[in-house]
């Protein structure tokens, strides 16, 4: 998944397609695809600052 995310950052067109739910990424699992799309679409509110050590 590392390489794919690194690649995505360099290809705004792919990122745009991902944002519009037009594509899924081959080479990562369906779970990773879902998580990636969730984050790109900012579906979930970001956590408030935690206080972990």
């Amino acid at each position: 998944m590392k390489n794919i995310i690194n690649y995505l950052m360099k290809d705004t067109e792919v990122l745009h397609l991902l944002k519009n739910n037009k594509i899924c990424i081959i080479g990562i699992s369906p779970e990773e695809n879902k998580a990636l799309i969730d984050v790109v679409l900012n579906k979930k509110p970001q956590l408030q600052a935690y206080y972990w050590k």
């Binding site: 998944m1 998580a35 969730d38 600052a49 935690y50 206080y51 050590k53």
Partner: protein, 305 residues
């Protein structure tokens, strides 16, 4: 959870100090420590109370004492962590570290005594879970302190131990005191709550350039592991690698703070951390949604992920 629960946990901890601690100086210091943590809220105590309510179907006063005991256990770990890491000098327990270490030892035993003295039917199951998960967290902390993790899988294993064990502990103790049969279904997402929180902390740790910045402290965290693995041919990355192996000084890294911040965004280090965090959030959500519990409790649990 409501402010009421947090206030109640606070006042229960104060009552515990009055009841158990006879040395006035120790009592005063502990009181300062508890006050210091009040603004953060008592996440672990909340998880104990929430899980007890979920599986007992009603709230009972005596769960607050156990939840407060778990918060005191977490306080003892916070004290140890800050003294071991030497990266956070704002808490009151870093002022007189010899005394704080002694207080931390005291809390480790006090929390167990409180559970043992409670009148819960399954208190010994809870005690065993406390000890086994606390030991796992300490092993995770040991691996973290060794600071020689260079691959992501081992990093996640360490986080599961260090942070996941503590959230598991809180969720499980509330659960087993109400119904030990439900422990298995809680265990998995309990750990995920800790992993999600730790990854958040890793990201926060790269957005500041004070003493708590993980890179300045030469710590290996998820965004740092990613950054150093995907971007090899950049002068700033070379500097970071040399900083980690001791041939570059901190002030040289500080000069590059803006460049490093940009690299974290541009290379996808933050995106990768967020996606990894989201993976755990989705797993936790799926576990929570599959529980046979009231909808309002599912909603309450989802707030922690």
């Amino acid at each position: 959870m409501s402010l009421d629960v947090n206030n109640r946990l606070y006042s229960t901890m104060v009552d515990i100090l009055e009841t158990y601690v006879s040395n006035e100086d120790m009592k005063t210091q502990l009181s300062d420590f508890i006050d210091f943590k009040k603004d953060e809220g008592y996440l672990f105590g909340e998880l104990v109370v929430l899980h007890y309510v979920i599986y007992n179907n009603k709230i009972e006063n005596h769960i607050f004492k156990v939840a407060a005991a778990i918060e005191l256990l977490i306080l003892s770990f916070d004290i140890l962590d800050d003294i071991e890491d030497q990266d956070n000098f704002s808490p009151p327990w870093v002022q007189q570290q010899n005394l704080s270490l002694n207080i931390s030892s005291y809390l480790l035993f006090l929390c167990q005594l409180i559970i043992k003295e409670s009148d819960f039917k399954h208190k010994y199951i809870a005690l065993e879970l406390l000890v086994t998960n606390a030991l796992r967290a300490i092993e995770g902390q040991h691996i973290d302190l060794l600071n020689n993790i260079t691959c992501e899988d081992r990093y996640i294993d360490m986080v599961v131990l260090k942070s996941g064990s503590l959230t598991t502990l809180a969720c499980l103790i509330g659960t087993v005191l109400a119904n030990p049969d439900k422990a298995t279904e809680v265990q998995l997402y309990g750990s995920h709550i800790g992993v999600i929180g730790q990854i958040q902390n890793d990201m926060e740790g790269m957005k500041r350039w004070d003493g708590k910045n993980d890179l300045l402290n030469k710590k290996w965290t998820l965004p740092i592991l990613y950054l150093l693995s995907v971007e090899q041919n950049h002068t700033a990355i070379e500097k970071i690698q040399n900083y980690y192996n001791g041939s570059v000084e901190k002030h040289e890294i500080l000069k590059l703070s803006k460049v490093i911040e940009s690299l974290l965004e541009e290379t996808g280090a933050f995106l990768y951390s967020k996606v990894t965090q989201q993976l755990y959030r989705n797993k936790a959500e799926s576990s929570i949604m599959s529980l046979s519990i009231n909808k309002k409790y599912k909603k309450a649990l989802l707030k922690y992920i």
